[in-house]
Amino acid sequence: MTVGALGVLTDLAETGRTSTGEEVLFWCLAPVMVLAALGLVFARRAVYAAMSVVVVMVSLAVLYVAQEAPFLGVVQVIVYTGAVMMLFLFVLMLVGVDASDSFVDALRGQRWLAALIGIGLGAVLVGVVLRAGDMVPIGMAQANARGNPEGVADVLFSDFVFTLEVVGILLITAAVGAIVLTHRQRLTRRISQRELADARVASAGRLTPLPAPGVYARSNAMDVAALGADGRPLEQSVPRVLRVRGQERSVDEVHAQMPPGVGTGSTPPERAITGEEQVR
């Protein structure tokens, strides 16, 4: 997408002033970006928040290209959406998708106070920018004369060469730090399989494997609970992740979705199975 947009957008971005095409692009992208960013604040599930951040970052890459910074636009896509956000998704999957946010305030009223501070910060920042008055861009035509990546490289390897080396040291330190932090040293003795089995028997919990889900009449889907010998749905037969996400279906829902006459053998229950029935 970026490669295709690159040529068009650089044509759009006339040097020195913003063209109509760029204005249209900005007003199309800016609301999308703000809405996606708000998704970060309000999304219940962390994966949705991550995807909305991806939307913001890709849009930012397009805006960079429109602002005569094609090198940064490409780097934005590769580094941010390609590497950083994928790292976020990896950790989200590692930590568990069900690690949902608690909406209980540790400090009373902290959430409202934080929202108020946020709105205040936004008002101050936007106010300052708007008071700065009309800004006339000089444009990058002269700086980008030999091409944008070449221009960036010239500045990077002349004026900022010391910073570049420091940043290289920082990157190596970060990589080593991440390895050290995620390295797990065994603090306790390894528990043998025998001890595990003994502990399981001693705990008087469930010794057999969990029942398989959905082995019921017409549906063998993963999200339908199996029925036990007493006719009650067995909650623990549905995989834990589906239960945590609230994606399991009850037996009644499956029957409601069945068109009449489909399948042979069993008949739908005459009354709803709720799990409240008396055990026969």
Binding site: A37, F88, L94, S100, G118, L121, T163, V167, A178
Partner: protein, 99 residues
Amino acid sequence: MNPANYVVLAAILFTIGATTVLVRRNAIIVFMGIELMLNAANLAFVTFARMHGDLSGQVVAFFVMVVAAAEVVVGLAIIVAIFRTRRSASVDDVNLLRS
């Protein structure tokens, strides 16, 4: 169009990122809020580079990206390490130092 619009957009994104850091409890989402703030700063840098016709702004934005990548690597490693010991990714649960 006044290019100040880009700076206004950057300010709005920065604000939303800061609000995320203050409001959310999940450490990973808090981190994404920090990333959003860094990105907003980058947008402002690129806009200023264009206003002044100087590539230094773009180079600084480039450095911000590199530092952000390093920060994410270490931060996520810390989150994983905490999750391993505490089984939680909530910033409220990390109160070991509370007497």
